[in-house]
Symmetry: C2
Subunit: 101 residues, 2 copies
DNA sequence: TTCACATATCTAGAATTATAGATATATTTG
DNA sequence: CAAATATATCTATAATTCTAGATATGTGAA
């Protein structure tokens, strides 16, 4: 974990909506309805559900999620027309370690 | 650790200089000269040293440190005319826990 | 109490980020 | 292939943050 990447992660974590997304994705089944095609949350939650729950526009959420993926906080998986997002726990763990003494 | 405080912490950690300050304060003796009056780093490092090492203006660093203290990342202690800053490890630990699943 | 120095706050302009609408690009289905 | 749906990107404006200079405040020493 270097300074530059850590700064990008910090930027993603400096906004309430993005932090909430990180929270929601801790327990997708508690915060989102089941998907139609994929019958589990193994790859996380689709963009539309996250967008609807956030109340922000599609373009804004798409940008958020894209940045969160770029810095490694989220992992994106395509299933047909849908992109599923889940937390990247090892990266989050590494960032936590970096912050701590 | 709630969403609002975590967001404020994230804002403090979203800037390279501020992240570096957090790094430097992990090992003050490696990054700063000894103080004249206080002969240890138990309470951290004075504002002037941090300002000089950062290369930014006094007012900017003062603002940074003030915000970092407000959200709990740093602890400030006065010794005469000097303010000493050290990391608030328990808060950092709590934030790390909050981020993790 | 005055001076010198350390730190904090105020103010303002520059830089960056937030956000949405419009549009483009997949991808599935008929 | 055309239509429908999901997501991504582009563009522009609003909002926020960055940053420093000026000024104020706190504190020890003379």
């Amino acid at each position: 974990m270097n300074l530059k990447i850590a700064t990008e992660i910090g930027k993603c974590l400096s906004n309430q909506t993005r932090l909430q997304i990180m929270e929601w994705l801790k327990e997708p089944e508690k915060h989102f309805p089941p998907h139609e095609t994929v019958k589990h949350f193994n790859d996380g939650v689709c963009v539309t559900y996250i967008q609807e729950k956030s109340g922000l526009s599609q373009s804004t959420i798409s940008t958020y999620l894209s940045n969160m993926e770029k810095c490694g906080l989220l992992i994106s998986t395509r299933h047909g027309k849908w992109s599923y997002l889940k937390r990247n726990e090892p990266l989050i763990e590494a960032y936590s370690q970096y912050l701590q003494n």
